[in-house]
Symmetry: C2
Subunit: 570 residues, 2 copies
């Protein structure tokens, strides 16, 4: 299978030096496959942005060569961008049953299922697509049906772990297939691409089963209603909640849109046992609190999630009452700490007893820690190593672990999105770049919010804006109306008449001054003079720097011909 | 000293159900004292706000009765609002030496030292102010010279712990004065007010000294330059860095404005030993990297801090180079996780080896955990208990700890800011409220940014704005110029001419339509019609909701008479 003098190029378009939007291209001269197609969640410096997807230009430009999309698992950072990709291309999608169930749901919501071919893969199965042969290998993760991919290429075997942990006692009884990985290691693995999320954490990630023990302990001493918030995609966690509910004679209600969606898929595909304890949310009134468990979304304190709505008493069916026990069975995703803390406070104020990760072992990670990473390195024994799925410091740490285990430093590659890792015969290079980057999604707009729009949003958020409007005679430049001053997000206008009056005066002075310097009809010049004058005055008075928009209307001219583009938008 | 039938009122104006802006009033009919006067840091939903201070109206209204301000320690959330308070009142300030040193520096910066009386207190010393007698008791915290206050009142002894931990081996050799607290407990303590920050954390907070051992370990195996970022106020931490530097023959540079300020005070007041290893930042070039330690601000990833500037190569004197070891000797303050992660990534990209809390024991908390809280409860044996300094869930947890130790639940009070806890003879009540709340500081403005301004800033941040401007004939209502469309933070105008044109058309249609419904000169009505039309069009097209500002100039009227207040500012 391995042919010399054939090229293999591996190009991450997302997921490197970041957590999120995993997207990796594998290509030979003839064929291309894609591994994962995810979104990232926007940073706090991207206000208003709904999600971030990879720049897929390189794939779209080469769409005739794309043979398939291979999915390691069903998390949003691995499948969330599929609708965006499939607006541009259409290729078969390969994945395990549960992963494809989630993809199908997603495409249905977008009305895009028609004509999309989805091929269900079983562990151990292989599919040949042009120059590539891909095998799905069982792993453990915080979602069921996760897979590593062994990609047999003309240059050798590439093992991509996907997101994984090593769980010897997973809830579904199926531990990661270390034997197959070791077997591949014996055959010789050219390159290992391995999950770096927890590379900075020593030791071993605890088994999912430990959380079940904590649930048993909490359920055994809890009298009232129990509400458990967790990630909707963590089917094993939900199964453990159901198992514990069965043991303590409680019924379960599934709550929150994404929880309902995912559990629907899980039930339909046969991933949930004991579904007879599930009752409809409308039936809640038929059971006393001590016979109920509510399984809900909202573990991240998302403002519109079911649990947050319960916390602030805007949930339609469920009110938090004293005696309720709320278990937050999740870790905060970095950046969500404050909203989660606020939500917990609100729940406590309504009398709930809230149990979260600082108080009990109600969550375990889905990613491998240092010792697990070493285990994989040791059995796979790759020639080259490329840490993936992590921020830069995590990739570096993972590389250092690999080097400690004996991989030569020069055989390790810390890539970046768009960087091409190219194998050809015995050589490996890493000097080419293709187009890559963040494409921001805001409402229906994909890519129309760029750095200037974001800069303006941040500026507006920081100090608001002042607009000054005036109408001048287009022939003489004489002021016909205004200047009027409107401000938003700067000061409360009704209580700040003084400063508004002074800004009006400042504008009038600047306008007069600009007449004597420049031409009476050089609007751009006038606007600059006005903007600078207001900026200086306002900063002096308030030490604030609002956005200043001088708008000059030019009255003898016809409609639409006056200045419409702001000259500070650059 | 204890007189029956006298009233004691305790009113927190900050610090309850929040971390920050600690401010508590103690009053009898005749006298009032204040304990601490701090700021809070703004939440992410307060864009542009610099800091938050307590609403001090109640104190200002009663300023003739205020006898003194008592400070437990020198952190910003306990002293930061003093300049704002002292613009309104002037009373003697009581505190330990280092605390007052920091207050003096702060007042100097504001040009406010003149006429402010500061009285240095030693541990064990008491001062009588009217109905109150206040004793300073030694505690341990992440700043030197922290104190608990025993406040002897007409109704009994109130013990306020301030922020504390129990450190048997502190760096300055002076553990918390448990004996004095036990002695007060024997006498009988009416009320304990105790720090709840770490009430959710089990066990014991480790001694500050453990961090020193980690430093020794890291220094002993580090060849290149070492950069340690920590909180500037943690003088013991800085002392340990200096001690380790001395041991390993390194010179120390103090870097970052607040670090320089605080360490200046610490040196001046005699809180730093071995100052001869300190060198000026300009002397850095005289020493090889292996003989240098840089002690810097920036442990929270603050954008303008010294370490962040080093990380992004904008620091004037220090560049990060491969071989540098950076120690982040701090925990993230909730909300700062992302900027810290970004900063660490930047440092790694420049080749630094970054050691942070996940990788080694380079930080310990300054606050007591559950077992320490139990220790204090046990020796103080208060009749009543009031958990302070914490968010609601922490206060509740702290209350539960107290109840487990035998305090009757009805003797525990979870207060809120403004709530009056009133003792009179044998009775205690908690039903009155005084004015309290957040006052936002933005630039020079104190309190002029309120909920409407913040709402507008959040709205502008989310989706930007669209302003449409037009000039009409004031007699006929006929359009003379415009409509012109300006947008900021919505779409990039130069690449979005289509939608801008369509918004212009929508405006023109709406204006025409409004003519036929309402009067031709009802500007407010016209603006509403235009705003609704644009809103609907834009949402339909983009699923975004920018702020829409219709501005109609009215041309025959004189300057300044046209609409200047936006009618959606309410």
């Amino acid at each position: 299978m391995i042919t010399k003098n054939k090229k293999l190029r591996i190009i991450p378009l997302g997921g490197i030096r970041e957590i999120g939007k995993n997207f990796t291209v594998f290509e030979t001269e003839k064929d291309m496959i894609i591994v994962d197609c995810g979104i990232a969640f926007p940073d706090s410096d991207m206000p208003g942005v709904d999600s971030v997807i990879p720049d897929m230009t390189y794939v779209v430009q080469n769409k005739d060569r794309v043979r398939g999309l291979f999915l390691t698992h069903g998390h949003e950072d691995h499948i969330g961008a599929i609708p965006f990709l499939f607006k541009e291309i259409n290729v078969p999608i390969y994945g395990t049953k549960f992963t494809l169930g989630l993809v199908e749901k997603k495409l249905e919501e977008e009305g895009m299922t028609a004509g999309v071919e989805m091929i269900e893969m079983h562990y151990g199965e292989m599919v040949i697509k042009g120059d590539f042969c891909v095998e799905f290998i069982r792993t453990n993760h915080s979602i069921v049906d996760a897979a590593a991919l062994a990609i047999i290429t003309p240059c050798g075997i590439v093992l991509h772990t996907g997101d994984f942990k090593v769980d010897y006692t997973p809830i579904n009884g199926q531990p990661i297939d270390l034997m197959r990985m070791a077997e591949l290691g014996e055959k010789g693995v050219l390159l290992l691409m391995s999950d770096s999320t927890n590379a900075e954490h020593k030791g071993f990630t605890m088994s999912e089963r430990t959380v079940g023990r904590t649930f048993e302990d909490i359920f055994s001493r809890t009298k009232g209603r129990i509400i458990v918030a967790t990630f909707s995609s963590n089917v094993s966690r939900v199964q453990q909640i159901i198992n514990t509910a069965v043991k303590f004679n409680r019924k379960c209600v599934i709550c929150g849109r994404s929880m309902v969606n995912v559990i629907d898929v899980a039930i339909e595909k046969g991933y949930i046992d004991d579904t007879d304890v599930l009752i409809d949310i409308e039936e809640i009134g038929n059971y006393p609190p001590e016979e109920l468990v509510i399984i809900t979304t909202g573990s991240q304190g998302e403002p519109m999630s079911a649990l947050t709505r319960m916390a602030v008493a805007t949930h339609r069916q469920i009110d938090i009452v004293p005696g309720d026990t709320v278990i937050i069975s999740a870790s905060p995703i970095p950046g969500n700490e404050k909203p989660i803390a606020r939500m917990i406070d609100e729940l406590c104020k309504r009398g709930a007893n809230v149990i979260h990760k600082s108080l009990a072992e109600v969550h375990v990670s889905g990613h491998a820690c240092e010792e697990e990473l070493k285990l994989i390195q040791t059995i796979v024994k790759p020639k080259y190593f490329c840490p993936v799925h992590g921020e830069y410091r995590q990739l570096i740490r993972h590389k250092n672990i690999a080097v400690e285990l004996g991989i030569p430093e020069e055989n390790c590659f810390i890539l970046e999105n768009g960087r091409v890792l190219e194998f050809e015969g015995d050589t490996v290079r890493c000097d080419e770049m293709v187009q890559a980057g963040n494409v921001l999604v805001d409402g229906l707009g994909v890519g129309d919010v760029g750095s200037i729009v974001l800069r303006d949003r941040r500026h507006l958020a920081e100090d608001g804006l002042i607009a000054v409007v005036m109408t001048v005679d287009s022939r003489t430049g004489a002021l016909l109306a205004g200047p009027d001053v409107i401000s938003r997000g700067f000061v409360y206008m009704r209580e700040s008449e003084d400063i508004i009056d002074q800004i009006r005066e400042t504008t009038r002075d600047a306008l007069t001054r600009s007449d004597s310097y420049g031409g009476r009809k050089d609007w751009a010049y006038k606007k600059t003079v006005i903007r600078d004058a207001i900026h200086e005055f306002v900063y002096e008075q308030t030490k604030r720097n609002p956005m200043i928009l001088p708008l000059i209307m030019d009255v003898a001219a016809g409609p639409g011909s006056a200045e419409t583009t702001g000259d500070d938008e650059e």
